[in-house]
């Protein structure tokens, strides 16, 4: 396919140059390839999500099979939906609309296919490596460094192709959709590079160069802007192109689109810290994140209204046309999500919502509603055109629409109830001042019924996608694919200038793609730089705690297993300074406690309790039994079993390389520690194994579970130690067992 497409070169311009009309062809093959990949990955990614949803009320659904436990499968679901489903959907729309808005074929067919095969190979690599436990644990950036480099290469190919097409365009001015595509290409590249910086240890393991608070800020600057510049800006570009097409009328206000674009890309980049409210992140950064998040509602709603008002006078069409139905619902969902997002970024609201299913509801309003429904609308609109026929069944598409809406209700409403219920139960005190629900499991049991309802919603949504897949397949069969669409347009140079061109106006800017790209780059860089640079260079942002020491060799390997198993998907390690949290978990978390955490493991969801002060709370034997079968120690727990930790031997061979790598990123392991680390590890492992015998457990000291127990018992204990001088911190790690 790649070779066939690559051989299609644009025909030479017509002999009659006086007419200045050029004949050329749009490449529909690449559009079709991305469209098919969108549907396939949508079904796979959503099905993975459904399996996860089932595991939350039926833990045995993991089959005690380590490769499909919740922790390992969750990033498969998020990556498959965000980068595979939405990513391919984004490319589908961009490759179709960009050619037509520029009146030019894509810059390079080879780059187009490199983009397609490279992107989808990366997704396959993700689907293999994540279940195997190769993960950085940083949300939406879990893929390890070799895959990250591949992402960078493919993204550069896409960006060159995008900008190259813009440069060779036959249209004088760049339409608003293209500005959003440019902002997407630039910003995703920056986010990916800055957040992805890590020191490689082996082929599938690396450590983030940032630690603790800095790592958290960079990660959520990335994480939030992945939402902004991967899930939002490209889809706004699609909205600005496909909504007018489907409605057959121009966008409501081109003026508003200018304000929408600059306001949105400038503000979005500042909002990341709202994911870290009430954490150990310095207050100034939290406040900036909150204020800019609230301001974000203005440009977001400007865009939403611009989309909806495009349909003024055409609402009768919405009743008949499933494409418009999907679009209206998608834009409405965008409006709801972008109103809710700023609300959740207000500190008082966030104190209740954070770590609960409320966030899950919010995310799924956006992805199922905005991204999902808009993708479906684009596919329903595109397939008849790609196959030069009409949609096989508009009726079936209408059924899909109503099923998708019903599915979303079944998904998000239970999650709102679940989130608010859990959040309030966590904070509830008795009249005597004690926690009303001191056992975390009480709050879990209360929300399990909502997890069942959520799974029904997810099932319905997937059913709708299957109906769409069938409908599109029948449409394709009924028509004939148009691989190359021949069109004519006036060449760029011979176009009469219809309007006077004055410098330094937006119209002038729209004819200068390089300048527009440069200004967009400045707009997105400012916020990130103002937030991140002071956090890294000003030491006062992370007050040092002298008793905090690096992890011991055994704890370090235990931490890496904790990362491998994806425990961070359900357990936070960040106790916020609320009485409800300090009563339940212990002293609130301090920035200085995480200075050796590469990467940070604060988490963003508490399906289980926070673990930052778990060290010393239970005996080693309790952890052993709990990991073997959580329900043996905690009846009603929904945590999966981890029996393989009891049988798998701890691999100590990478230990020296990991210690060296961590030293390179600033962890003060003493010189030569690598040579004695293994002995220390064995001594500490023997102690843990000895402790286990007091609980009638005979476990070999070389099992993985020993390392995990050592790590868990270390968590949050450093500040309980007697203060030592700062210089002591460089004398090496301290064992907790």
């Amino acid at each position: 396919m790649m070779n066939a497409a690559a051989t299609h070169q644009e025909p030479p311009p017509p002999a009659n140059r006086a007419t200045a009309v050029e004949t050329f062809r749009y490449d529909n093959r690449i559009v079709r390839a991305f469209a098919i990949a969108t549907v396939v990955w949508g079904i796979i990614g959503m099905s993975a999500g459904l399996l996860l949803a089932v595991q939350l009320f039926f833990p045995a659904a993991s089959l005690d099979f380590q490769f499909i436990t919740f922790g390992r499968l969750r990033p498969v679901h998020t990556n498959a939906v965000v980068f595979a489903f939405v990513g391919n959907g984004m490319f589908t729309g961009i490759y179709y609309s960009l050619q037509r808005l520029c009146k030019a074929r894509m810059f390079s067919d080879k780059l187009s296919w490199l983009n397609f095969w490279g992107w989808n190979a990366i997704i396959v690599a993700a689907a293999i490596t994540l279940p195997l436990g190769f993960t950085t644990s940083k949300e939406y950036a879990e893929l390890e460094w070799p895959i990250k480099i591949a992402i960078g290469v493919v993204w550069v190919a896409f960006t060159i192709n995008l900008l190259g097409t813009i440069v060779k365009r036959r249209e004088k001015h760049l339409y608003v959709a293209i500005w959003f595509y440019i902002a997407t290409a630039l910003t995703v590249a920056i986010l990916h590079i800055v957040n992805g910086l890590e020191v490689p240890v082996s082929l599938w393991k690396g450590y983030s160069i940032y630690a603790g608070v800095q790592d958290a800020l960079v990660q959520w600057w990335y994480g939030h802007n992945a939402v902004a510049f991967f899930l939002t800006t490209p889809y706004l570009g699609l909205m600005y192109y496909f909504l007018p097409k489907a409605a057959n009328r121009p966008i409501f206000s081109y003026r508003l689109s200018i304000i929408h674009f600059w306001g949105l890309i400038f503000i979005y980049i500042w909002a990341g810290p709202h994911h870290l409210l009430y954490t150990a992140l310095p207050d100034w950064a939290q406040s900036l994140g909150m204020v800019f998040s609230v301001m974000l509602v203005a440009p977001s709603w400007g865009g939403m209204l611009n989309g909806l008002l495009t349909l003024r006078g055409a609402w009768d069409k919405v009743r008949q046309d499933p494409v418009l139905k999907f679009m209206v619902a998608a834009v409405t969902a965008y409006g709801m999500a972008t109103l809710e997002g700023p609300a959740l970024a207000i500190k008082t609201v966030n104190s209740l919502s954070h770590y609960t299913d409320w966030t899950i509801a919010h995310v799924h309003t956006a992805v199922l509603g905005w991204n999902g429904l808009l993708t479906f609308s684009v596919l329903y609109w595109l397939f008849p055109r790609l196959y030069n026929t009409k949609l096989w069944s508009a009726k079936l598409a209408n059924y899909h629409f109503w099923i998708a809406l019903l599915a979303m209700m079944f998904y998000v409403v239970p999650m709102y109830i679940s989130g608010i219920t859990a959040g309030m139960m966590w904070k509830q005190f008795t009249k005597d001042g004690f926690l009303q629900y001191p056992n975390f499991l009480e709050t879990v049991q209360q929300i399990v019924p909502f997890y069942r309802l959520r799974a029904i919603g997810g099932s319905l949504y997937i059913l709708g996608v299957w109906l769409m897949a069938y409908n599109l397949w029948r449409t394709a069969r009924a028509g004939q694919f148009v691989p190359e669409e021949e069109v004519q347009a006036v060449s760029y140079r011979s176009q009469p200038e219809a309007h006077q061109e004055a410098a330094f106006t937006h119209r002038w800017l729209e004819s200068k793609p390089i300048l527009l790209t440069g200004l967009a780059l400045v707009a997105v860089l400012i916020g990130g730089m103002i937030e991140i640079i002071p956090m890294i260079v000003i030491k006062e942002n992370v007050p040092t705690i002298s008793s905090v020491k690096p992890y011991t060799a055994l704890e370090l390997l235990g931490r890496d297993i904790y990362i491998r198993e994806g425990c961070v998907g359900c357990h936070s390690q960040m106790i916020r300074p609320f009485r409800s949290e300090t009563e339940r978990y212990g002293e609130y978390s301090k920035a200085g406690e995480f200075v050796y955490d590469h990467p940070f493991l604060w988490g963003s969801k508490r399906t289980g309790p926070d673990l930052h002060r778990i060290g010393g709370k239970y005996p080693d034997a309790w952890h052993y039994n709990h990991l073997d079968d959580p329900r043996s120690t905690s009846p009603g727990s929904i945590m999966p079993r981890y029996p393989w930790l009891l049988t798998q031997k701890l691999d100590t061979t990478p230990l020296p390389a990991r210690i060296s790598a961590l030293r390179r990123v600033g962890v003060p392991y003493p010189p030569g520690y690598e040579s004695k680390a293994l002995n220390e590890l064995k001594q500490q492992a023997d102690k843990v194994a000895a402790n286990l015998t007091t609980g009638q457990i005979k476990a070999p000291p070389d099992g993985e579970i020993i390392a995990v127990i050592a790590y868990l018992q270390r968590l949050g204990t450093d500040i309980k130690s007697a203060p030592t001088t700062t210089a002591d911190a460089a004398t090496g790690p301290r064992a907790s067992n």
Partner: protein
Amino acid sequence: MSQLIDELGGIEAIGIFSLCLFVVVFTAAMVLAFCLKKPFLKSMGELPLEDEQAKAKTPTPPPL
């Protein structure tokens, strides 16, 4: 106003600078947008609809 911003929690100068920066960017975008003339806005708004007219030889698919 200053006291209000102070109460946001340690935000101080960096917050005021950031908000001023936003005002500048937003104002610039507004000025640029409102300086555009209607014929240009109309022609740009209709750009996505033009490619149907540009098709020379490929028939337009029938409506759904």
